[in-house]
Point group: C2
Chain length 99, copies 2
């Protein structure tokens, strides 16, 4: 029964775009807003919303700076984010490994 | 870039409860409504809604019968459902295997 504990799937990560952001950052460590927008084929608004959710969960840190006069937004995965993603993958593989 | 094609994650399956239903049925092949309700700790209403979505997607077949006077609802995974779940797992592992 524990194998079907769907409540162990972290909602902050399970959303499709958030899952994409987290998976990308697990590998890349950090990424510019426009880079994420391109690789995930996301809209500006949608990406902003979901980055903010991940920031609120403490999984991502958003750093704003300027490149010349151009504002630059960069997302970094946090240690808590790395742990949460590892837990998410564990919960997921427990859930689906029964097949 | 293809590794981050989050659009390959089948929405009909990705929802948390639907993912639980599909994962359970991949193993069990078929299950009574009350069995699913118990293993997934779902409410009656929520389970009904998501079973219907899976039925509409063609991934699950719902068979209604009677056990004496008691109505019995049984969900079976379809061949299309099995294929879709396998595709979902492939898309998911492509997405997360970069870590």
């Amino acid at each position: 029964m524990a194998a079907f504990d769907i409540n162990k799937l972290d909602d902050a990560i399970h959303g499709r775009l958030r899952l994409g952001i987290m998976a990308y950052l697990m590998d890349a460590e950090a990424a510019d807003f426009n880079e994420l927008k391109a690789v995930l084929e996301a809209t500006q608004g949608n990406l902003s919303v979901h980055l903010r959710k991940l920031e609120e969960a403490g999984y991502v840190e958003i750093v704003k700076s300027f490149q010349g006069r151009k504002p630059l937004t960069r997302a970094h995965i946090t240690l808590a984010g790395r742990k949460a993603f590892a837990n998410y993958l564990d919960a997921l593989s427990n859930l689906v490994s029964k097949r």
